[in-house]
Subunit: 347 residues, 2 copies
């Protein structure tokens, strides 16, 4: 199985190249983005999405800001780049990795003395983040693979795969690494309404790698847990506080049902997903537009006179999580996030 | 609020008229069906659906068989009608009401001495079933309304409304009767994948009656239970055994989550939904086609290389049900179904 990159810097064109995920599975198009404004739209439209991939997207976004900025003095240049960074940061409030990737590149370029140096350093740091993300996913995969039986059926929700990362994946990275280690893993992917990342993206990338995958509606997971042998539920995360895991809407319901059936519920995420500063109550849950719920495949199913709610994420209390699989090992709650992060920095 | 019929006998045309539910909410078309074969297709395609409505649909189906049969001697005529009845019965295996409606008309016409009498009796009995179903829904509504606070927010799944019955509805009948009694009820309707009966039908018929309704994806219900004040979850049922409630896929997951949050979980259904003969293990859960999950609004979201599972129903163990609201009153589990049914017959 090979690493298939999700987004990368095109040095010749000074642009970002990426798999345009809203077109999958119908069309596999490598799109190109040349302006920060368009990149903010791409992130908002979920053309690129997934917490670790958003870290990389934020980083390349700052590189793109530096590459396209026309200011000629360093302080005006840096101010313009920081304004662009703020625009990018505001596109998705829940996933912590986006801000993390942006801040890391901003910190790195703050040390440069001239514009050419800033531009080089921005791309270099973003490339490093992308490489490190892939390495993190492989580490997560190897730690997590040890949790799975030699032959098993795993449920997952949304897409925490290669497409959600620089490559390989977090939750799906665990599955890929288990298969590389010789295990026999079958995947049941919840379709993940409203935007169907499970049906469109998880099924696509697993099928591409020859991994057996079956799609169900989100509402079938509990029935499947009751009537079939399910060995584990594995998801990714958009933000992990001490008391909760923020992830795609529906994760919380699956965690309750997994607990009800005695099925281990694992969260796979790199340390960049951990938030040492907030508790769950301090995190904003992104609410998105009506049309994502009301209209599918061009047909509108909700009558106009009815209201719609569209939460992008939910919070799963840590009590429902069996273990968090990080790039530094497997941790069972309660989590000591500051210690986990400082050990990582010290290393 | 008035009773709006879902299907009825057109005596002049000797045909069944019905609201073609697959077209809602875009188009409100009264369709006409003139042959048993087409009626079987209509039931299979869910042009008419919902457990109590299927009882009425089965009954009118036998009336249609009698109206269209060209056999001239009574015994050949009755054999042909019974063959048609078997065809109709096989269309949907999980909902008990379909077979119940068919059997009741078959039993009634077995007492007739000539073909004209059979035809008259079949329509008469089917009309009686439709009238009784409406009366049952009003009784359920009045018993159930007493369970709701004066101002409340109620979650529901799928469509257990007027469109699922002869009129008024079971779960939505409770809501309508509570409103008629002066209560202030707001409804949150789960969209109900794969066929979106919640988004398409529940939202449509509640909005038609001016009842406030908000649609969410099925995966948002647990998050809404955690973050808002939800007073009750009310669903209908396709079959109730002593140990479980069979209802639209997703019901089981909602029942687990309602229990987790301490929210009452009510099932509203007429006595014709109760099955005194089987336990949950003896009931077939209908599995339906791939395309219902894979294709929405004309666009295919699941890649061909991925499998699909499509369960139409699930079984909610009776331990998760707070009470069953029947046309003979509210019953808390454990249920004594034979006693419940015999008391009703004795009455």
């Amino acid at each position: 199985m090979k690493d298939s990159p999700t987004l990368w810097w095109d040095a010749a064109a000074c642009s970002i190249r990426y798999i345009e995920q809203t077109l999958l599975p119908d069309e596999e198009r490598i799109a190109e983005c040349r302006t920060v404004e368009r990149w903010a739209t791409a992130i908002r439209r979920l053309e690129v999405r997934g917490a670790p991939a958003l870290g990389v997207a934020g980083a390349y976004g700052v590189a793109l800001a530096a590459a396209t900025c026309s200011e000629e003095d360093l302080s005006g240049f840096m101010n313009a780049v920081r304004r662009d960074a703020a625009t990018l940061r505001a596109t998705r409030p829940t996933a912590i990795n986006l801000a993390w990737g942006i801040d890391r590149v901003l910190a790195r370029i703050g040390r440069e003395r001239d514009i050419a140096g800033v531009r080089r350093a921005a791309v270099g740091e973003a490339d490093a983040i992308a490489r490190e993300d892939t390495a993190c996913c492989h580490a997560i995969g190897e730690y997590g693979a040890g949790l799975l039986p030699d032959s098993c059926t795993v449920l997952t929700h949304c897409n925490a795969g290669a497409l959600a990362c620089s490559s390989w994946g977090t939750a799906l990275g665990v599955i890929r690494s288990a298969i590389v280690a010789g295990k026999d893993v079958r995947v049941i992917a919840c379709e993940t309404r409203p935007l169907l990342q499970g049906a469109r993206l998880t099924a696509w990338e697993l099928a591409r790698d020859g991994i057996p995958v079956t799609v169900i509606t989100d509402s079938m997971a509990a029935h499947v847990m009751r009537t079939r042998k399910i060995d584990a539920f594995i998801v990714g995360a958009d933000r992990i506080t001490r008391d909760a895991v923020f992830n795609k809407i529906g994760t919380y319901m699956h965690a309750i049902c997994a607990r009800h059936h005695g099925i281990p519920f694992y969260v796979a995420a790199p340390l960049s997903t951990f938030d040492p500063e907030n508790l769950a109550d301090g995190v904003i849950i992104e609410e998105r537009g009506r049309e994502e719920v009301a209209t599918i495949g061009g047909r509108t199913f909700v009558p106009e006179a009815a209201g719609v709610m569209n939460f992008g994420f939910d919070a799963t209390p840590m009590e429902l999580v069996s273990a968090v699989i990080t790039d530094k090992g497997v941790r069972e709650p309660p989590l000591d996030i500051p210690a986990l992060l400082s050990r990582s920095t010290a290393k």
